[in-house]
């Protein structure tokens, strides 16, 4: 392992970090068994030759499209602390944009250019497993040059081999996380453990669910006793759609939203949501501990987001250097301490001990067996299923 940062720079980073507020996590340390459910689930095979039409590397600014609340943001300086450190140390400029609000929405925006081989305006994009798998299949990724990514070996063993990209040749896990229930503690002091509590009468009209079909439907399916990681039937899925449809037409659900549900939690329009673990923790940290998150007792979903260098990128080497930096355990721990998602980097837990021992115990960052037993990875859908289910889901959402 070859760390990118000098010891001096690291000291500065740590000093900054210790001033942060952190959530108090509870639970046991379960380093070796992390993400047991996460690895070999995807049955697709990645066969596309990703390097076939790799553009000439121009070595310019790295443009990164990521999801909101997904990098350590300093709200006083309005900068991303780890990114600033990296830029200063490496001399590589990075333009970081929270441009991914929803996998489908993002794909819809860029797929025209991807198909034509025109620059989509990003050198790194972060997409969830199933969508990353689609990009790999369609040859929209560039294979990594391992020489620029020595830290790649730090990936958790359970994530090192996924069905859609065996050996992680062109995708690298950014974070993993849970979908579950989020709530406003002032409005719902008792919290939310079950789907009945989510759709409680007093939350009517103030509930929002994710437009990420696999998360919203994965939770509803499990509440109906169906395991979304197993080959469930179309009838079972449509039953869950009927449930969603009913809650929408009865006026319980205010909106079906992408990552911008966070804005509605802050504004108070939404008091209870199906949302993402880390989002709600970091939002809560920024808002005086106002929000709570829990994996449903009937079961939540587990997903991973992956960094991809699009086939249209002309800054591959610099992009790889950026990713390499984030696979340094110390940097990974620094990011995890902010985003509160499951950290994919081996050694980050030890680094987290130095930042905040409490966080090193958080089951939402370093999940234990008990936590992982409560979540499922949504199974891989065929293209036909994907289209049919997406249509049914969109129709239920009024679209």
């Amino acid at each position: 392992m070859k760390p990118d940062l000098t010891p001096e720079v690291r000291e500065i980073v740590r000093a900054q970090l210790s001033r942060r507020r952190f959530i108090a996590g509870a639970g046991a340390v379960g380093g070796a068994t992390l993400l047991a459910a996460c690895g070999s689930n995807d049955a697709e095979s990645g066969s596309a030759d990703a390097t076939a039409s790799a553009p000439v590397d121009e070595g310019g600014t790295v443009r990164w499209a990521n999801w909101p609340a997904y990098l350590d943001f300093d709200s006083d300086k309005k900068t991303y602390t780890s990114l600033e450190t990296f830029k200063a140390a490496s001399g590589i400029n990075v333009v970081y944009k929270e441009d991914v609000n929803d996998n489908d929405e993002f794909y819809g925006k860029v797929q025209g250019q991807l198909k034509l081989g025109k620059d989509i305006g990003y050198d790194i994009v972060t997409l969830t497993d199933w969508m990353a798998g689609r990009w790999v299949r369609m040859g929209y990724t560039q294979a990594f040059d391992e020489a620029n990514l020595p830290n790649k070996v730090n990936i958790l063993p359970t994530l090192a081999n996924v069905g859609f990209d065996p050996g992680r040749k062109s995708t690298l896990t950014w974070q993993s996380g849970f979908a579950g229930f989020g709530w406003n503690k002032e409005k719902i002091p008792g919290g939310i453990q079950s789907i009945e509590q989510l759709f409680d009468k007093k939350n009517k009209g103030r509930i929002e669910v994710l437009s990420e079909m696999r998360d919203t439907m994965g939770i509803i399916l499990q509440a109906q006793g169906v395991d979304p990681s197993q080959p469930f039937t179309e009838d079972q899925f449509m039953n869950a759609i009927d449930f969603l449809q009913q809650k929408i037409s009865d006026g319980f659900i205010r909106q079906v939203k992408g990552n911008d549900y966070l804005e509605d939690m802050v504004s108070g329009d939404a008091v209870a949501v199906i949302g993402w673990s880390g989002d709600i923790f970091s939002l809560s940290n920024e808002n005086g501990g106002k929000f709570g998150f829990q994996v449903p007792e009937s079961g939540g979903t587990l997903w991973s987001d992956n960094c991809i260098i699009p086939s249209t990128s002309k800054n591959k080497k610099n992009a790889e250097t950026v990713l390499n930096n984030y696979y340094d355990p110390a940097v990974a721990a620094q990011v995890a301490a902010f985003v509160n998602y499951i950290c994919p980097v081996v050694g980050a837990q030890a680094e987290m001990e130095k930042i905040d021992p409490e966080l090193a115990k958080s089951p939402f960052i370093f999940p234990d067996d008990a936590t992982l037993a409560k979540v499922r990875v949504f199974r891989t859908l065929t293209v036909d299923e994907e289209t049919k289910y997406a249509e049914a889901f969109q129709a239920a959402a009024g679209n």
Partner: protein, 297 residues
């Protein structure tokens, strides 16, 4: 009208070179339309009859000339279609009810403040309408100032919302398209020769009769232009429904957006776009016929 007749008169006996001039003048516009309207339209028509390739990747379609796509697209989304036209109609009527008195006041009663008032009408254009709509969402939101005041004085119940309702979508559209209604009406009213109104008074018509028989008919071109400029974009709008509505207030624009960008179902999106365009064209043709606006052009 007199001007138009004069134009026809001179054009009726031109020289050979003079005949080409109108066509030359039309050329840039025609090219523009060909490039950015006709060609995309052909592409859209071609896409609308495609079907998915069996076993193909997401977004892979082949041409099978399946006209049933149109029937499916319409029947599956008839609720959103009718909602779009009802919302657009209500927004247009509301905008007219607000704009006409406003335009009338600016045209006839504002005196030296005329320019300031006109600027105030146009001023909102200087910010993105997306931002303005999001601002409304915040102002009228569940924890926003308006709803707290209304709840404090028990003017609305504790469960009543303003945003995420059909009312919010319609008023949002009314607000966003208001200048499109106000300006054409103002332009029509402003052009009216005041002597016509004086003459009406001299013939013993009272204020109301003058308005009904003289002012309003003369302002019809503005009213027709304003209603068209409001109704057409409102029927295709999806931003207001997205930001201010809920899943049961989605309009056809939202469906097209979701079909195109989320499901990557281009044929249905294209068929829906065509159906929307055809529906609007028919409605507009009927409307213009009935409104009888030769003076419009």
């Amino acid at each position: 009208m007199a001007f138009a007749h004069a134009g026809t008169a001179t054009a009726s006996k031109p020289g050979r070179a003079g005949m080409r001039i109108p066509y030359l003048l039309l050329l840039p516009g025609l090219l523009w339309l060909l490039l950015f309207f006709v060609l995309p339209l052909i592409n859209l028509a071609e896409t609308s009859t495609k079907t998915p390739i069996a076993g193909g990747e997401t977004g892979a379609y082949e041409q099978t000339f399946r006209l049933q796509n149109y029937v499916d697209a319409f029947s599956e989304n008839s609720a959103q279609f009718s909602r779009s036209f009802i919302y657009a109609l209500l927004a247009t009527v509301l905008a007219l009810a607000i704009s006409y008195p406003l335009a009338y006041a600016i045209a006839f009663k504002s005196g030296k403040y005329k320019n300031i008032l006109l600027v105030l009408v146009i001023a909102p254009f200087f910010t993105s309408f997306l931002l303005r709509t999001i601002a409304w969402k915040q102002i009228l939101g569940e924890e926003g100032p308006v709803i707290s005041i209304l709840r404090t004085f028990h003017l609305i119940g504790a469960d009543t919302s303003i945003t995420a309702t059909a009312l919010a979508v319609i008023t949002g559209m009314t607000y966003n398209f208001l200048p499109f209604m106000t300006l054409p009406i103002y332009a029509s009213l402003e052009r009216i020769d005041p002597r016509l109104m004086e003459a009406s008074g001299d013939l013993y018509a009272n204020g109301l009769t003058t308005f009904r028989r003289v002012t309003f008919p003369l302002s019809m071109p503005g009213v027709v232009a304003g209603t068209l400029l409001t109704f057409i974009p409102a029927a295709g709008d999806y931003v207001n429904a997205q930001i201010l509505g809920n899943p049961t207030t989605k309009m056809i624009g939202n469906v097209i957006d979701s079909r195109f960008f989320r499901i990557v179902d281009y044929p249905t999106a294209a068929a829906l776009s065509f159906t929307l365009m055809a529906a609007i064209l028919i409605l507009i043709t009927v409307y213009i016929r009935r409104a009888g606006t030769d003076e419009l052009i």
